[in-house]
């Protein structure tokens, strides 16, 4: 009987897809305005960022590590971009390249220290989180950059597809496809996964695990910087507190999306589209909770409950699939 179920149905992504559909149905029937053009546009802007943050965390989870400095890094990069555009007047396209390079560099620091000390990246990125955020606050004196070029801020408020979708979402979805391609079809992507799945075996088969881990951290920094730019474009200004104190506001979506998407915390597995679906689910629930009007102070509580419920469900699913495969 087990063989008749297509493989896709057994995956985590399928479960997520069902959940996304269920929540869309629930919210469209129980609230006014969930399907309104305004709300869908707002959702697309938020989802775009959550996907990017989730991907940035996913590539570090691949190594079996974590990146707590994600938010601090993203905001630092965004502030750097704001400074480039407003204070120096560097053209937008060059600024974006500089910001992405800067983000990758900060990610490189994370990776380098982690690899060289052999300490868990949790503690390294905990330290660099406060270092990045501290330096950023000192250098900017906690002042925002609000006079960004219009072409840049206009892009953030652009409306596509009959004014339903933000272009930011298209960037995120494209990034998903690129990452999927890298991990699935390129040599380097396969090496990254191999290094994360079994470092010893990878080392023995001639992969420099240390270098792969540093690449993962650099990729994480790159994606976090991209998320920082996107957030700047969305808000129309680069604000030091836009990801909360120490960038903490990014942490929950960052972990929720990959964990819901089926990325193993022990490393060695990536699910790009799972992460995307995870981010969509989180944003949907967040948005729905506001529309249902649970009170803004309780939103956090429910998000915590949902994270807990999601990991427990995933655990149960794993348990049953293992049991089924043993029975058959």
């Amino acid at each position: 009987m087990n063989n008749k179920i297509p493989n896709f149905v057994k995956t985590n992504q399928f479960g997520l897809l069902i959940l996304v559909i269920v929540f869309i149905c629930i919210f469209s029937f129980s609230t006014d305005g969930f399907t309104s053009r305004f709300n869908i546009y707002a959702l697309s802007r938020v989802v775009a960022l959550d996907i990017m943050i989730g991907l940035a965390m996913m590539v570090v989870i691949l190594t079996g590590g974590l990146n707590l400095s994600l938010g601090a890094l993203g905001v630092s990069a965004a502030m750097f971009g704001g400074w480039c555009m407003e204070s120096i007047g560097i053209p937008i396209s060059i600024t974006i390249i500089l910001v992405l390079a800067f983000g990758s560099f900060l990610g490189w620091i994370n990776g380098f220290v982690t690899v060289r000390t052999g300490v868990h990246s949790f503690i390294v990125t905990l330290a660099t989180m406060s270092i990045y955020f501290g330096f950023m606050t000192l250098l900017t004196e906690a002042e925002a950059f609000r006079k960004l070029p219009e072409a840049f801020t206009d892009f953030g408020s652009l409306k596509l597809f009959n004014k339903y979708i933000s272009p930011l979402l298209i960037i995120s979805v494209l990034t998903c496809f690129v990452l999927y391609y890298i991990f699935k079809y390129t040599d380097i992507g396969r090496k990254l996964i191999a290094a994360g799945a079994n470092p010893d075996a990878a080392e023995l088969s001639g992969i420099s695990v240390d270098r792969m881990f540093i690449y993962c951290h650099m990729l994480s920094g790159f994606l976090a910087a991209l998320a920082g730019i996107m957030l700047t474009a969305r808000i129309g200004a680069a604000i030091p507190s836009m990801a909360g104190h120490l960038g903490f506001d990014w942490l929950l979506p960052a972990f929720l999306a990959p964990v819901l998407g089926g990325t193993l915390l022990s490393g060695g597995k990536v699910t790009v589209f799972g992460t995307m679906l995870g981010a969509i689910l989180v944003t949907l629930i967040n948005n729905g909770l506001y529309l249902i009007d649970v009170g803004e102070f309780w939103v956090r509580f429910f998000l915590g409950i949902i994270l807990l419920g999601a990991v427990l469900l995933d655990r149960a699913r794993e348990y049953f699939t293992v049991k089924n495969s043993i029975v058959s």
Binding site: L66, V113, T117, G118, V119, H120, F122, I123, V124, L126, A127, T128, M129, S130, I131, F133, G134, F135, T137, L138, H245, L246, L251, L252, F255, V259, L265, G295, F297, W298, V299, R300, F301, F302, L303, G304, I305, L307, L308, V311, L312, R315
Partner: protein, 322 residues
């Protein structure tokens, strides 16, 4: 003497003594009674928070929800006294009970599902913090009984505040727990190697739940001490605990993989962090530097630990060659 040199806390102790002498030579204000009083207050509060994290590090896990538990207990404690005009003792007991329950939830879910404590406590961090905000709607409680205010402000004699009593007792109890009881030794064994500790008959369920319950209780005490100190219960108590809670044990030589913590070195780590933060203030350095400094200190401690491990490895290698 050579036995002393090997202790984690010995080097830290030297750094502390010479550092303090150096700072007070440049700035005599550093050893003024007022400054010592402020220093002791900050040490007392962080000591409890660091111990709360240390016990979870001992079993090789992390507890992100320490601050959230502290905050939830702090506002429950003050809320019970203000809104329900409860007297102090029952309010303290209920506060401890909440901490215990929060810790139990963390430990129970972690050990029963086998999901990493990081994810579980990240979820409970949001749950506890969400309950905190849901209950208070981000408004502080101001009506605190005089006795509580007195406890948070008064001095025993000289610059020594009453507030240090409880943290000192807790530190001694923690030392006894980790060094002189089988429960503490079992925790370290579990943190060192889960499989082998199970093979010699240590119950993981018991160890993990105990560790999380103690962590929850300590976080609760930390939250209530902050209420005494601040003289009010604000919902953001505990928000900034995460970094210092890891900094002190790591500077004290704790290995995050579990199995090795040192209570005295952790206490010295707390004192070191407080002295440095204080010195930066005295030398009129931007407060944001304190944060950067803390980050660098963690990295430095990590490098030093790594170097010591490396030296240890080399030494043992020489012996085995002979």
């Amino acid at each position: 003497m050579s036995a002393l040199l090997k202790k984690d806390w010995f080097g830290l102790g030297l750094v502390l003594i010479f550092g303090s002498i150096l700072i007070s030579l440049f700035k005599p204000a550093f050893i003024s009674p007022f400054n010592l009083y402020v220093l002791m207050l900050s040490v007392s509060l962080m000591l409890v928070v660091a111990m709360s994290q240390m016990i979870i590090i001992a079993i090789g896990q992390m507890n992100l929800s320490v601050g959230a538990i502290g905050g939830l207990v702090a506002i429950s404690f003050t809320g019970l006294m203000e809104v329900y005009s409860m007297s102090i003792l029952p309010a303290v007991l209920i506060g401890l009970l909440i901490g215990l329950a929060c810790g139990f939830i963390n430990g129970y879910i972690t050990v029963k599902t086998g999901i990493s404590a990081f994810i579980i406590t990240l979820a409970t961090l949001y749950i506890f913090k969400g309950m905190n905000l849901g209950i208070t709607e981000a408004q502080p409680f101001y009506e605190i009984p005089e006795a509580v205010k007195f406890f948070g402000n008064a001095k025993i004699f000289g610059p020594i505040p009453y507030l240090v009593i409880i943290p000192i007792i807790i530190t001694i109890l923690m030392w006894i727990l980790m060094n002189r009881t089988s429960l503490g030794r079992y925790m370290l064994a579990y943190g060192n190697n889960v499989q082998s500790s199970e093979l010699i008959g240590i119950s993981s369920t018991k160890i993990v739940i105990y560790a999380h319950v103690i962590s929850g209780l300590l976080a609760a005490i930390g939250g209530m001490l902050v209420v005494c100190r601040l003289q009010l219960g604000t919902p953001n108590i505990g928000d900034s605990w995460l970094l210092p809670s890891f900094a002190a044990p790591v500077i004290g030589g704790a290995i995050l993989a579990g199995g090795k913590v040192d209570v005295i070195a952790t206490a010295f780590g707390v004192i070191l962090v407080s002295i440095i933060s204080q010195a930066l203030v005295i030398f009129k350095i931007d407060p944001f530097f304190v944060q950067i400094f803390l980050g660098f200190m963690i990295l430095l401690a990590v490098f030093i630990n790594r170097y010591r491990e490396y030296r240890e490895e080399r030494r043992t290698k020489v012996f085995s060659d002979e």
